[in-house]
């Protein structure tokens, strides 16, 4: 066939597939789920009063009080009888009170100053005896460093600490900060049956005027197109916030771990997240295709994918052992938070490493799928 004709054919197939997809209930349901998620998040932020500094600091105060509940009340002055950790915690409590006061009377400079002081105090506490007993109530080392860098950036840039969390960019920053935890699960549930019909009734596709490989490509592209629409929907559903709460600050700092603790602007953070989401979606779709081929069962496919997703939680030691495993990066929020650094066996998983790993795996999977379809195995399916 002429290359030109082939192109027309491909386009037609894609058109047909898209037409089928358009009336697919699953797509409508997925869109509704995304809309509900976004609006649910908005109401969650409202009811939980996210961005209310007094509330956040009160939570901190309470945590330190819980930690102090494990200590006998003693003299916490410089030369007192209390242990170093005890004195440190009492000072933390005092600094948090100052922070809370600064938030209440609107003294942003004092707030930032005390925040940095608190970060220093906490940094010192990690090395003290008995820290493990109270670690549960205090931020981890990485969390503390992230906070520190964030406050430092605010001081350097002269930005205000209080932002409306429901302004457009701030909301998106928050949304993309947590969506990484569920994105792979969402796409794998969405795509788990992508080719199951075709594998179960091979005669169905033998009637198509193009090769099966092309058909798979068309299916894959239409699924990716849907994923694109889902991501777009996240933005579209957040648009009303511009009207109600304004655009917000697109260059507001977000502290992330990307191999080192550093600061991204909100817009860069959103960009990197979207890139991750696209790659993870492609990864999930290709994985679905391969598992569909191997297992010939939609539910097993879904279950295996979900199990793969939680395997790093079940075997955290494996992450440090095999850092190049793409599964480690599927929950990318966790990578951005640097959470893996605080595990019993710390694993330094970089943001860029994840992109490369998932990218390489996508290429490998494409080759596997291509090899499978050109080897003529399909006839025997």
């Amino acid at each position: 066939m002429l290359p030109f004709l082939r192109g027309v054919c491909m386009r037609n197939v894609l058109k047909t597939v898209l037409m089928i997809e358009k009336s697919n209930k699953k797509n409508i349901a997925a869109c509704i789920i995304i809309a509900v998620f976004v609006f649910g998040l908005i109401s969650f932020i409202t009811t939980e009063e996210k961005g209310n500094l007094i509330k956040e600091r009160t939570g901190d105060y309470q945590s330190v009080s819980s930690a102090l509940y494990k200590f006998q009340i003693e003299d916490a002055s410089e030369n007192g009888d209390g242990s170093d950790l005890y004195k440190n915690l009492v000072r933390q409590q005092r600094v948090i009170s100052t922070q809370r006061m600064a938030a209440r009377v609107d003294r942003p400079a004092l707030y930032l100053e005390t925040s940095l002081e608190l970060a220093d105090l906490r940094d010192a506490a990690f090395k003290m005896d008995g820290f493990q007993d109270v670690a549960l109530y205090l931020p981890t080392k990485t969390e503390n460093q992230l906070q520190r860098v964030y406050y430092q950036e605010l001081v350097n840039e002269g930005k205000s600490v209080s932002q409306n969390p429901l302004s457009f960019y701030q909301f998106l920053g928050y949304l993309f900060g947590i969506i990484g935890a569920g994105w792979f699960i969402f796409v794998s549930i969405y795509s788990c049956g992508i080719l199951i019909e075709e594998f179960q009734h091979t005669s169905l596709i033998k009637g198509y005027p193009i090769s099966f490989g092309k058909y798979v490509l068309a299916k894959c592209s239409s699924a990716m197109l849907m994923v694109g629409i889902f991501i777009l929907l996240l933005f579209i559903c957040s648009l009303p916030l511009i009207y109600f709460n304004g655009l917000g600050d697109s260059s507001y700092p977000v502290a992330v771990y990307s191999g080192s603790i550093e600061v991204f602007t909100t817009i860069k953070f959103i960009g990197v997240s979207v890139l991750y989401m696209l790659l993870i979606a492609l990864f999930a779709i290709l994985l679905s295709i391969i598992l569909n081929m191997l297992l010939k069962n939609m539910y097993l496919t879904m279950f295996v994918q979900l199990l793969l997703y939680i395997s790093p939680y079940l075997f955290p030691g494996m992450m440090a052992f095999v850092p190049w495993n793409p599964i480690n990066y599927l929950n990318f929020s966790r990578i951005f938070n640097g959470e893996t650094l605080d595990l019993a066996t710390p694993a330094a998983l970089y943001m860029s490493q994840g992109l490369i790993t998932i990218g390489v795996c996508i290429v490998i999977m494409l080759f596997i799928i291509k090899a499978f379809f050109t080897a003529g195995k399909l006839k025997r399916v």
Binding site: I32, I54, Q62, Y69, K70, Q72, I73, M298, L306, L314
Partner: protein, 395 residues
């Protein structure tokens, strides 16, 4: 009828969406058991450091206090600390000797005494700091409930003959985890699964209407069979959830069905104990009643509105209905016990916690069963009437 039941049954269990719901439930129960359950951190735990800190602080105070010309609150402390510390010492010693029965006894006394001191003691004594979260105006009430509940629970442990362990004390064993979850979000998960499983049970027929003409049955009977199948399917949702239970059991032990569960009675403001098996049975009864209610409601909306998404919407509206009117203490002025949605948190209704937060004494298993069954009867009657209208003969 039987053959139609079989037909519907097979349809139900080979429905892609339904199998997906079961698989997702299985996954989440495993995930919960392996990742979430181990990080459970109760406020009232067996924490030696906390006990020691309280004990030593009070002991130091008693040893160094000057008893001449005391401030009234100092005098109060001097009067109350010795007994308080006696119980605390009892707990510490029992823990040291691994004598769990003795620990339970001392702990029960400690909780009763502490609550008596703190709740009536005015504003200078406090419950555990973790109750005092931001904006919680009821921290004192929460602490009061938790302390009294713990006191009653430990009293049960001390009196009965159970295989005690720290996991039992902290309610980490499989059966106790199940009991805790029934008092938090497990009822929601079960009812939402029921909605997802039965949303299309009637509407799927529209795809192949001719298939059904072969069954010589009235629409009403057909709907009943469908409802029965959906109920059976919803009850089967317990099976994938039980997988998580097995994993927790293998880790922390299964616990025993005889373990005591404290039940709050708002009438005499006190706790009584029932066995875990009784608690479970009461919960199951109410949950199954909820299933019946939800399924009959979905049957009604299916024949009225004829849209799956409308079914889902109405189902979820029922699930979150309580949030629209829930405020603490509202039961004092409003008759919340007549709203079926007040019973959605099944475990909390049975343990009496709902009565406590609503300040009502009418949210009981009996009232719940009456209200829910009345709703079921009304809905089914409507379905019966509608399905017998000539217009609806063809579903």
């Amino acid at each position: 009828m039987q053959s139609y039941f079989k037909f519907e049954f097979l349809h139900f269990f080979f429905n892609k969406k339904n199998i997906a719901v079961y698989v997702i439930l299985l996954f989440f129960s495993c995930y919960y058991a392996m990742v979430v359950a181990p990080s459970y951190d109760p406020i009232e735990k067996v924490d030696k450091l906390e006990m020691e800190a309280r004990y030593l602080t009070r002991e130091d105070f008693l040893n160094s206090v000057n008893t001449e010309r005391m401030h009234p609150s100092t005098a109060y402390a001097v009067m109350t600390y010795p007994e308080w510390n006696e119980y605390e010492k009892g707990r510490l010693d029992a823990l040291e000797e691994h004598d769990f029965k003795k620990y339970a006894e001392a702990t029960s006394k400690w909780y009763t005494y502490s609550d008596g001191m703190i709740y009536k003691g005015g504003d200078f004594l406090f419950y555990h700091p973790r109750y005092y979260t931001y904006g919680n105006n009821y921290a004192r009430e929460d602490g009061h409930f938790a302390y009294l509940s713990a006191a009653s629970r430990y009293e049960g442990y001390a009196e009965g003959d159970y295989a005690l362990s720290i996991d039992v004390f902290e309610e980490r064993t499989a059966l106790q985890t199940w009991q805790r979850l029934l008092q938090s979000y497990l009822p929601f998960i079960l009812i939402v699964s029921c909605i997802l499983l039965s949303a299309d049970i009637v509407l799927k027929d529209r795809r192949n209407p001719t298939l059904l003409r072969g069954f010589p049955m009235s629409p009403w009977r057909r709907l009943l069979v469908k409802g029965g199948v959906a109920l059976f399917g919803s009850i089967l949702a317990f099976i994938p959830l039980a997988a998580g239970l097995l994993i927790i059991g293998a880790r922390n032990g299964f616990g025993s069905l005889d373990l005591p569960v404290p039940i709050y009675s708002h009438v005499d403001k006190s706790f009584s104990l029932i066995s875990l098996s009784e608690f479970m049975l009461q919960n199951m009864a109410l949950i199954i009643l909820w299933f019946v209610l939800i399924i009959s409601l979905l049957l009604l909306t299916s024949i009225l509105i004829r849209n799956e998404f409308a079914n889902l919407f109405i189902g979820f509206a029922v699930v979150i209905g309580e949030f629209t009117y829930y405020t603490r203490g509202i039961g004092f002025i409003r008759e919340v016990q007549w709203y079926p949605t007040s019973y959605i948190q099944v475990g909390q209704v049975i343990s009496g916690y709902r009565n406590y937060v609503y300040e009502s004494n009418a949210l009981t298993l009996g009232n719940g069963a009456t209200v829910l069954s009345a709703c079921v009867c009304i809905i089914l009657l409507t379905v019966f009437i509608i399905s017998n209208l000539p217009k609806f003969k063809q579903l």
